[in-house]
C-alpha cells in the first residue's frame, strides 16, 4: 500500500495505491478535498479543514489559510485569541495530520510513509520545510515529488496513446507550474519546466476584490479600507470569500452576485450589506492580464525547449482555478484545443503522488504487517525495480550466507501463474546473480526465486518472492534549479545542473583565496552554496554557507590551500555539504541554513530606487548610442519595475507574500539590467574610441616623449585589431593605455596645472572630504594668482586623492572565500 499527499495552497488531498487501483481517501465530511485552513480558538484547540474554512471570513484573526506560500521563510503566523504563533510548516503538519487521520479511518492504520507533493519551483529551504511538516505530522519516511510529475504520472498511467510531448499546466491557489514532459517507450521524463511562484487563484480573487472595492468606492465612502490597510482585514476577508464564491459560480453560469452580509460598518456605525452583480465577461476581463501572464510563462518554456505549440500532443490541466472557462479556453487555444479529457484536475496530483510512492518503494503499512520474519533459510538480497516500463527488466541478487552455509550453484525465477520461467543461471563466486524476467503488460506480476546447490538439490531461501508492476516509469525527480558554489570572482561553479536527477552527489576541488589563522573563529572562510541560473553569483539565491573557521587549526592555513567540497542532494532535494582540507586533516560540515530571506520593506524600497536610477541611466545611454535592441530589453525591465512598484504598497502593509515576490522581482530586474549593460558596452566603447582617440593622439604626438609616442602607435594599431575582432575587453584596455599616455602628455603642458586645478574647482561637491578640498582650493587659488605653477602641481596631487576615480562596483559574491 502506497500513500501520496497533495499539500496544496488552498486544498489538500490524500490518495492510496494498492498496486492495482488508485483511490482518493475521503475526509470525515465525505469530501475528497480538505481545505488547507487552520483555526485556533482561545484555548488553543486547532480545527482543520472545512470547519475552519467557515471561520475565514468571520474570524480572520484566528483562522489562517495559504500558509504554503510562506513555507521556508521562518515567518511566524500568530493567532490573536490564543496568543500563540506558529511556523508555516507547523500549520501544514496539522493539515497533514488531519489527512493521515482520515486515512486511518479508511484503511485501519495510519500510513507511516508517504510522498508529499511540492511545486516544481520550490527551492531547497521550502522543500526542507515540507519535510519538516511531514515529520511533525508523524510520518516516518517522506519523499517529495514535484507536482507536474505527479500529474503526468497520474494522467499517463494507463493511457496507451501517451507517447510524445505534453504540457502540464498546474495553476493552484498560489503558484503556476508549467512543465513539458516526454513519454517515449513508456518512459516518462521531464524535459523542462517553468513557472511563477507568485501567480495563482489567489490573484484571480484579488483582482475581483479590487474591482469590487472600486465599484463600492464609486458609490460610497469606504473610509480607509484598502488592501494595504491592516485594519481592513476582516471586512476584506469577508469580501474575498464572497468573490471567491462568485468566481466559482461563474464557471457554471454567465452572471452572479457577490453578496456579503454586514461586510463593514459605515461612518454612522451601521452594518452595510454588499451586493454586486458580476458577469462572466467582466470576470474574464479582470483575469485576462493574469491569464496572459500565464501564457507568457508557457511561451517562455516552449522557447527554451525549442518546441512549437503544434508539437505538443496534449495539455493537462491541474488545480482548481483551471476550471475557470476563460483559462481553459485561452490556454487550450494556444495548443489547438488538444486538452486531455477525463482527468480530475483537483485530485490528479494526489493520485500521481501515490503512484510515485510505489516507484520509490515506500510502503505505507506498519512495519509489523509488511515484514514478517521467517526463521529458516538462506538469506538473500533481491534488487528489482518496483515499477518499470521495461517488459524484460533485470533482477539482481546476492546471497548472504551465515557461518557454515554455502552459496547455491544456480538460480532460476518463475512467474506465479505460469507463463514464464527464466533459464538457469550460475551464481558468481561472490554469490551474486543477474537475471532477466518477463512482465505482463500493465499488470503487477509476482515472481519466485528458486536456488539449487551443486548437486541439484533445492536450497531453502528466507525470502524468495517479489513483485514488479509494469507501467509508466518515471525518471528520477529532476532538480528544479542549478545548484553550485559561489566563487570569489562572483562566478558560480555549478555542481548540479538544472534537471540533474536526485539523489545526486558531487565533489569538486577549490582553493582558498586567503590565509586562515588558527584561533577562536574570528577568521572565517565562507563557501556559499547558491541556487539559480545566473552566471553572476550574487544574482542567485543563497541557500546555505559552509563556514571554515580556524578553531581546529594548529597553525595558519596558507592561501591557495586545496579544499574538497562535496555537495549531496537527496531525493527530496535536501542539501548536505562538506568541506575537506586534506593538508590540515580537517572536515567541516557546518551548513548555515538560510531561510528564504525576508527583506524588510525599507530595504526593498532602497533597492527599488537604485534599480530605477540604473534603469534611467541605461536608457539614456542606449538612446545616446541609438541601440534599439537595448531599448527593447529595457522596456521589459520597465514592466518588471512597474510590477515591483505595485507590490510595494501591500508589502508595506504587512503582506509578507508580496514582500517575497518583490524581492524576487528586484533580483530578476537586476539580472535584466546587467544583460542590458553588457549589450551597451561594445557600442559605447566604439563611440569613445571615435570621439576621443583623435584628440588623445594629437596631444601625445605633440607633448609625448619618443617612447610614449611609439607606445601610442602600438596601442592605436591594437585598437584597430580589437575593433575588427569585436574584443571588448582588449579595446577597453588599449583605450585605457592611450588615455594614460594622454594624461602624461597633458600634464606636461605649461598651463596644465591651472586647467587641472580649475577642473577640481568646478567639481568640488564630488570630493570625499569637502572641507579639506575647500581648504586646498583656497591655497591653490592664491598660488594661481602668484603664478606659482610648481606649487600648484603639488596642490593638485593632494586634491587628486580626494576625488574618487571610476566607481568600480565590486560585488562581494556573498563573501565567498574560495576560487
Amino acid at each position: 500500500m502506497h500513500a501520496g499527499i497533495d499539500l496544496g495552497t488552498t486544498n489538500s488531498a490524500l490518495a492510496v495505491f494498492d498496486g492495482a487501483v488508485v483511490t482518493v481517501v475521503p475526509n470525515a465530511l465525505g469530501e475528497q478535498l480538505t481545505p488547507s485552513v487552520a483555526r485556533l480558538d482561545a484555548r488553543g484547540n486547532a480545527t482543520i479543514g472545512r470547519r475552519a474554512y467557515r471561520f475565514l471570513e468571520t474570524d480572520p484573526a484566528n483562522t489562517r489559510a495559504e500558509f504554503k506560500r510562506l513555507m521556508g521563510t521562518g515567518e511566524r503566523i500568530s493567532f490573536e485569541a490564543s496568543g500563540k504563533s506558529f511556523l508555516p510548516e507547523e500549520l501544514s503538519s496539522l493539515v497533514l495530520a488531519s489527512l493521515l487521520d482520515d486515512a486511518k479511518t479508511a484503511l485501519g492504520y495510519a500510513p507511516r510513509t508517504a510522498v508529499i507533493s511540492t511545486p516544481a519551483l520550490f527551492e531547497l529551504p521550502q522543500n526542507h520545510a515540507t519535510m519538516q511538516a511531514g515529520r511533525l505530522a508523524g510520518l516516518e519516511e517522506i519523499a517529495l515529488i514535484q507536482e507536474p510529475i505527479a500529474s503526468a504520472i497520474a494522467a499517463g498511467w494507463r493511457a496507451d496513446d501517451a507517447e510524445g510531448l505534453w504540457l502540464v499546466y498546474d495553476l493552484g491557489g498560489g503558484t503556476l507550474d508549467v512543465s513539458l514532459l516526454e513519454t517515449k517507450d513508456g518512459w516518462l521524463r521531464v524535459v523542462d519546466h517553468w513557472g511563477d511562484n507568485f501567480l495563482g487563484g489567489k490573484d484571480f480573487d484579488n483582482a475581483v476584490v479590487d474591482w469590487a472595492l472600486d465599484r463600492l468606492r464609486a458609490g460610497q465612502d469606504l473610509g480607509g479600507m484598502s488592501r494595504d490597510n491592516p485594519a481592513s482585514r476582516r471586512p476584506l476577508a469577508k469580501l474575498k470569500a464572497a468573490c471567491e464564491q462568485a468566481k466559482i459560480e461563474l464557471s457554471r453560469t454567465l452572471r452572479t452576485t457577490i453578496s456579503c452580509a454586514e461586510m463593514y460598518t459605515d461612518a454612522a456605525g451601521d452594518p452595510v450589506d454588499v451586493d454586486l452583480e458580476i458577469r462572466r465577461s467582466e470576470l474574464d476581463g479582470l483575469i485576462a492580464p493574469l491569464i496572459e501572464r500565464s501564457l507568457q510563462v508557457c511561451r517562455v518554456l516552449l522557447d527554451k525547449t525549442r518546441v512549437s505549440p503544434e508539437a505538443v500532443e496534449r495539455v493537462v490541466f491541474v488545480g482548481g482555478p483551471t476550471l475557470t472557462p476563460a483559462v481553459r479556453e485561452r490556454v487550450g487555444g494556444l495548443f489547438g484545443g488538444r486538452v486531455a479529457e477525463g482527468v480530475d484536475p483537483m485530485t490528479l496530483v494526489a493520485r500521481g503522488a501515490a503512484l510515485y510512492a510505489a516507484t520509490a518503494g515506500l510502503d505505507a503499512r506498519p512495519v509489523a504487517v509488511s515484514a514478517p520474519a521467517p526463521p529458516t533459510g538462506l538469506a538473500v538480497r533481491i534488487e528489482h525495480p518496483a515499477v518499470t516500463a521495461d517488459l524484460e527488466p533485470f533482477v539482481v541478487g546476492k546471497f548472504l550466507p551465515a557461518a557454515g552455509e554455502t552459496v547455491p550453484a544456480r538460480v532460476t525465477i518463475e512467474r506465479e501463474g505460469g507463463g514464464f520461467t527464466s533459464p538457469e543461471t550460475a551464481v558468481s563466486p561472490e554469490g551474486s546473480f543477474a537475471l532477466q524476467v518477463l512482465l505482463e503488460r500493465h499488470r503487477q506480476c509476482r515472481f519466485v526465486l528458486k536456488a539449487v546447490a551443486g548437486d541439484g538439490s533445492p536450497v531453502a531461501l528466507r525470502t524468495s518472492s517479489f513483485s514488479i508492476v509494469h507501467g509508466v516509469s518515471v525518471a528520477d525527480p529532476p532538480l528544479s534549479r542549478s545548484v553550485g558554489v559561489a566563487l570569489s570572482d562572483d562566478t558560480v561553479h555549478v555542481y548540479f545542473e538544472k534537471g540533474t536527477p536526485l539523489p545526486a552527489r558531487r565533489t569538486a576541488i577549490h582553493q582558498t583565496i586567503q590565509s586562515l589563522r588558527p584561533g577562536d573563529g574570528e577568521d572565517v572562510l565562507l563557501v556559499p552554496v547558491v541556487q539559480g541560473e545566473y552566471k553572476r553569483a550574487h544574482l542567485n539565491r543563497l541557500i546555505g554557507s559552509l563556514r571554515i573557521d580556524g578553531k581546529g587549526l594548529k597553525q595558519s592555513l596558507p592561501a591557495a590551500t586545496r579544499v574538497e567540497v562535496t555537495l549531496h542532494l537527496d531525493r527530496s532535494g535536501q542539501l548536505q555539504a562538506r568541506a575537506d582540507l586534506p593538508s590540515a586533516g580537517l572536515s567541516f560540515e557546518d551548513v548555515v541554513h538560510v531561510l528564504v530571506p525576508t527583506a524588510s520593506p525599507e530595504v526593498l524600497e532602497r533597492e527599488m530606487q537604485s534599480a530605477t536610477d540604473r534603469l534611467v541611466d541605461l536608457r539614456r545611454r542606449s538612446f545616446r548610442g541609438a541601440l534599439p535592441a537595448v531599448v527593447h530589453r529595457l522596456a521589459g525591465a520597465d514592466a518588471l519595475l512597474a510590477e515591483a512598484r505595485a507590490g510595494l504598497a501591500p508589502a508595506r502593509g504587512g503582506d509578507t507574500d508580496a514582500a517575497q515576490r518583490l524581492h524576487r522581482l528586484l533580483l530578476d530586474l537586476n539580472g535584466t539590467l546587467d544583460a542590458a549593460e553588457d549589450e551597451i558596452r561594445w557600442p559605447e566603447l566604439e563611440a569613445r574610441a571615435d570621439d576621443r582617440l583623435a584628440v588623445w593622439i594629437s596631444w601625445v604626438s605633440s607633448l609625448g616623449t619618443a617612447g610614449e609616442q611609439k607606445l601610442c602607435d602600438q596601442a592605436v594599431q591594437a585598437i584597430h585589431n580589437a575593433r575588427e575582432r569585436r574584443d571588448a575587453a582588449e579595446l577597453e584596455r588599449q583605450l585605457a593605455t592611450v588615455s594614460a599616455l594622454f594624461d602624461a602628455a597633458y600634464s606636461r603642458h605649461p598651463e596644465a596645472p591651472v586647467w587641472i586645478f580649475e577642473a577640481y574647482e568646478s567639481h568640488l561637491t564630488e570630493a570625499i572630504d569637502v572641507p579639506k578640498a575647500q581648504a586646498l582650493l583656497d591655497q591653490g587659488r592664491s598660488l594661481r594668482r602668484q603664478g606659482n605653477l610648481e606649487a600648484l602641481r603639488t596642490i593638485n596631487r593632494q586634491l587628486r586623492a580626494l576625488f574618487p576615480g571610476t566607481l568600480e562596483e565590486r560585488r562581494k559574491s556573498f563573501g565567498s572565500g574560495v576560487s
Binding site: D390, P503, S819
Partner: protein, 90 residues
C-alpha cells in the same frame, strides 16, 4: 588553478558512456536496462559493479553517478555532446 583542471578531468572520466559501460550506438531500451541493472547490482553491493573502466584506469562508481548518467543520455542534446567526447576515447 589545478583545482579547475582536476574538476575538468573528473568530468571527462565520468562520461555517461564510461559509467554505464555502453557502446555509443546503444538504444534507449539498452540504456534503461543497463542503468536499472547497474543500480540493482550496486544496491546488492556486488563488487564488480563498484568500479568502471576509463582510459586512465578504473574509477569508483556510485548509484548517484549511474542515475546522473542515465539522465544525461536520455536527453538527446546532452547525449550528442557526450557521444562526441566519448568517441575518441572508446
Amino acid at each position: 588553478m589545478s583545482a579547475g583542471r582536476e574538476n575538468l578531468l573528473r568530468r571527462h572520466l565520468a562520461n555517461p558512456f564510461f559509467v554505464l559501460e555502453l557502446p555509443l550506438d546503444a538504444s534507449r531500451e539498452q540504456l534503461e536496462r543497463q542503468g536499472a541493472k547497474l543500480l540493482a547490482l550496486l544496491a546488492a553491493q556486488v563488487a564488480e559493479a563498484s568500479t568502471y573502466p576509463t582510459p586512465l584506469g578504473r574509477k569508483e562508481r556510485t548509484d548517484e553517478m549511474v542515475r546522473a548518467a542515465l539522465a544525461e543520455l536520455r536527453d538527446p542534446d546532452r547525449r550528442l555532446a557526450h557521444e562526441w567526447w566519448a568517441r575518441g576515447l572508446a
